[in-house]
């Protein structure tokens, strides 16, 4: 079971007493604000959690996996996430049964 926006809104309702409409809106706005910053080309630094960085990739040769045809993968900008030290140490200890 994965955590979703609906779960996060429910959590705001339970923890902070926001009404369900407000909770749903603010969760949506939270992710939209991060997307918009990245779209503007801005790195997003959330201390204690991690950084969303932007990396620019050069064009490189690629292949259509179905046809085997060679097609270049065009230059692009991609988002990467670097977890912060605090999140890393909280996760490290997780002793899951599955890999």
């Amino acid at each position: 079971m994965a955590l979703t926006k609906a779960d996060m809104a429910e959590h705001l309702f339970e923890e902070l007493g926001l009404n369900k409409r407000e909770a749903k809106d603010i969760v949506e706005m939270f992710f939209e604000e991060i997307r918009a910053a990245l779209e503007r080309g801005e790195q997003v630094k959330l201390s204690g959690f991690g950084n969303f960085d932007l990396r620019e990739k050069k064009e490189r040769p690629g292949r259509n996996p179905k046809t085997g045809e060679e097609i270049p993968i065009t230059a692009r900008r991609v988002v990467t996430f670097r977890p912060g030290q605090k999140l890393k140490s909280r996760v490290e200890a997780y002793a899951g049964t599955e890999r």
Binding site: A2, E22, I26, V27, E33, K45, G48
Partner: protein, 105 residues
């Protein structure tokens, strides 16, 4: 954009919700904490249009103490991993390929 700028931006935009700046601060703290708790419990996070967070396993390995050169056994561990969703990938890349132009639109 830092966490406090994110809070300021959200506070400025949510006038219709009538939340105080302090409430928005609490919201951001609570959301990030909930996400951290999920990952620390090995739970995935799936946000459509944004991306998903999951854990990747790093097997045990022999490391080296950079000062003494001594090898040390490092246990296997999990690390958080983020995979951007389609909408995020497209928006970031489209903005990159077609930088905003004053005469556009």
């Amino acid at each position: 954009m830092t966490k406090s700028e994110l809070i300021d931006n959200l506070a400025a935009q949510q006038a219709h919700l009538d939340l105080a700046h302090r409430d928005v601060e609490e919201v951001v703290r609570t959301l990030l904490e909930r996400m951290s708790v999920a990952l620390a419990a090995g739970e995935r996070i799936e946000i459509r249009g944004f991306g998903s967070f999951s854990l990747h396993y790093r097997p045990p390995r022999l490391g080296r103490n950079p000062k003494t050169g001594e090898s040390v056994a490092l246990a296997g561990k999990y690390v958080p991993h983020f995979k951007p969703g389609k909408a995020l990938r497209n928006r970031v890349n489209r903005a990159f390929k077609t930088p905003p132009h004053p005469s556009a639109d």
